[in-house]
Symmetry: C2
Subunit: 324 residues, 2 copies
């Protein structure tokens, strides 16, 4: 952990105040050094009180993503979030993560951006990502599975997003197979899974996640206002993005551990409970084909099993689903 992350950690743990002497001891640096870091954090928007009696106290944190802050909130995870990058603006966090993946980035590295100039959804569609209003980030994974198993990770991400939303807001969202999170039928988050692979094994898997956190109705183009929503619109209050981000990473870390231990079925069950697609008549566009039938269940790889009109099962690994 960096010094700034350690200081934020200590300030959050000892919310009644921590003395400069104590911080200086914990960090192994002079009290003047500690003071310098406190000043830096204040410059970043952290409101830190310094009183002779109580020492330092964190009164409030800025509404911005900051790697040290995220480390200090996240604590210890198995894989996910042990390396965090935050950019003010990028083209697309998936592109940045792909570049990092070809370099030295470790598994579980996460790339956040406050805004994306070329945020995208599936099939190259535009994803709106206004500055400071949402969570736009990518998690790099290197699971030891075949490319066909990539749907498992999308399912894991969807369940993690849904649980984190419930934890932070009390809202229980629906999941639309395989990659959308809905509240009252409107999309609040999506997942763009991209991978590089050989025929029989994944090399890098990128879970690109976009969540509309604090967008207001007027932040959406008119064409999207009937089909998209945000947590702020649904709850009537701003949601702390850093807390939410950390909740998502923790939940995803747990799900990923289940997959690595061969317990995908636990996730599949959770997913099926929340899924608005199962049991419904669906049309799924896969490339140029449209497949119609009843969405029955998930298979071991996370593919959707659809029962066609003639009673045969089709196995769908991804596509555009329309219910009804």
């Amino acid at each position: 952990m960096t010094v700034d992350a350690s200081i934020l950690c200590a300030l959050r743990e000892m919310s009644w105040g921590v003395s400069g002497a104590e911080l200086s001891r914990q960090l192994g640096m002079t009290r003047a050094g500690v003071w310098g870091h406190i000043e830096q954090l204040r410059a970043l928007g952290y409101d830190i009180e310094a009183s002779p009696h109580r020492g330092y106290r964190l009164l409030s944190s800025p509404d911005s993503l900051h790697a040290d802050d995220l480390y200090s909130r996240l604590g210890l995870t198995r894989v996910i979030g042990r390396e965090i990058h935050v950019f003010q603006e990028t083209t697309s966090t998936n592109d940045v993560a792909a570049r990092l993946a070809r370099g030295e980035a470790r598994e579980g590295a996460v790339v956040f951006a406050e805004s994306q100039s070329k945020g995208r959804g599936r099939m190259g569609r535009v994803w709106l990502s206004p500055a400071g209003k949402g969570l736009w980030f990518t998690v790099l994974l290197r699971p030891n599975i075949a490319p066909a198993g990539a749907t498992q990770l999308t399912i894991a991400a969807a369940t993690a997003l849904a649980r984190a939303i419930t934890l932070q807001t009390g809202i229980v969202p629906d999941i639309k197979w395989p990659n959308d999170i809905l509240i009252r039928g409107r999309k609040v988050a999506g997942i763009l899974t991209e991978m590089s692979a050989e025929l029989d094994h994944l090399k890098d898997l990128l879970l690109g996640i976009g969540m509309d956190v604090n967008l207001e109705t007027e932040d959406f183009p008119a064409a999207l206002r009937q089909t998209a929503t945000s947590l702020a619109i649904e709850t009537g209050a701003k949601v702390n993005r850093s807390e939410l981000a950390v909740a998502i990473l923790r939940e995803l870390d747990r799900d990923y551990d289940l997959i690595n231990k061969g317990h995908f079925e636990v996730l599949a069950e959770q997913w099926q409970e929340r899924c608005s697609t199962l049991g419904r008549e669906v049309s799924i566009r896969v490339g140029d084909r449209v497949i119609r039938g009843q969405a029955e269940s998930l298979d071991d790889d996370g593919a959707l099993l659809v029962r066609g009109a003639h009673g045969h099962l089709e196995r769908i690994i991804g596509g555009d689903v329309t219910v009804g």
Copy 2:
């Protein structure tokens, strides 16, 4: 086509000789300009005779890969080879092609290297690629199929390699599923298929091909001499690499057209005729698992169907096969 490619094309078409006046008319440039290009080609090792009676005549071409030369030999193809890059040395042609794919490279672009410093086979294994002795190249494709269909392209490449070898040398090689070409049980070529994809569709597919053309026994490390071979070792004579390269690209262009028209079954048939894996007892290592059984056939996606001891069929998309 570039001027150099056009000149080589004309010299090959009119092997009895072509006048400077005729070339200057065809190319729309002065005779002095034509002379300048002839001099450039000579500097590259093309032996071009200039006589007052017969005009220019191509006596011989150098044993090196040269994009203009390859264009002039290839002629018109549907997709493959309409963009060719030749490097003297690269890390790996798959890496270069991946970089070009993220830029402006068109589908069917081919990247050759005279040598690779980090040539690799499946699972990151080292692939020996000594300068000027083989064909080390990558073809960029963007087929409109799901990631699971990538095996189809590996199958197409394998049949194209086998046919091109037969055309150029008369030897009929075996195919070992999914990605090796063997002569008398020894590996002469391999295919490394890599892809970038979303869950349900491929973005870029790279067919990395390595073929041992003119390696001598002493070019192989002692450990490989029992399991690897080259066309020169098998035929007892040097093989023209440019001719062979062009034959492969033409065959692959034909196979790719079949796949795009939905006729993969034609390839699957050709493949099954040449395949030394089918009908045999095999062990296949896929990640940490070993699957044993009788290799029965290919399915529509090019996956290998293996009948296990208990009679059930397993569908294998890639792995290390041991026969027997």
